[in-house]
């Protein structure tokens, strides 16, 4: 099986409930942030992004919140479904080629 997520924090959520996944980013100069979803055995998949001139952005069933004061990013998933089970991680970018990735959180959706 996939060993990427062996040491990750895990969030267990009942199907239909909302999920909130948090990320503390490292650099106050970062001005662009991304959330990725990685399912077992697959590469990361883009979910949603946000630029530093915003504090909230909504997509389909997902919302990203950015708090620059405390360097905190969160991903909210509404009405969590079994297909949402995956590892989620954030990435920050300072306007260069370099992305800094978090280590991730495993989301488990309970039926």
């Amino acid at each position: 099986g996939e060993s990427v997520g062996l040491h990750l924090p895990t969030l267990s959520v009942q199907e239909g409930d909302n999920s909130i996944i948090n990320c503390a980013y490292s650099n106050s100069a970062s001005d662009y942030f991304i959330w990725y979803k990685q399912e077992s055995g697959k590469g990361p998949q883009f979910i949603i992004d946000i630029r530093s001139n915003m504090d909230k952005r909504q997509g389909q069933r997902v919302t990203v919140l950015l708090n620059k004061t405390v360097k905190h990013l969160s991903l909210q998933i509404a009405a969590t479904q079994p297909g949402d089970s995956a590892v989620y991680f954030c990435a920050e970018n300072m306007g260069t080629y370099k992305y800094i990735f978090g280590t991730g959180t495993r989301l488990k959706v309970l039926a």
């Binding site: 990427v4 990750l8 697959k42 883009f46 080629y97 370099k98 992305y99 280590t103």
Partner: protein, 113 residues
Amino acid sequence: DVKVTQSSRYLVKRTGEKVFLECVQDMDHENMFWYRQDPGLGLRLIYFSYDVKMKEKGDIPEGYSVSREKKERFSLILESASTNQTSMYLCASSFVNLNTEAFFGQGTRLTVV
């Protein structure tokens, strides 16, 4: 849809072998990246390329080299594979414009025995 394709999903190689990991993207992206992903460490950048024949070292380039002869293709080379290079390798690409997302391939799980 952007597609980043890595040539192998799983590879098993012997210590000392020369290993080639291939990556192709179909969106005319200027930037291409090679990362490795290990438990508890997140994604770490090995090498980056912003144009054909151009390359920059990332955070952990030791033991690796890269080749970008065509815009769509970025190869990672392990000159002499070692067991500590057992990992998940991820290729990504993005436009050169700042503040755009990187698109990832499906990953290659390499085991060196």
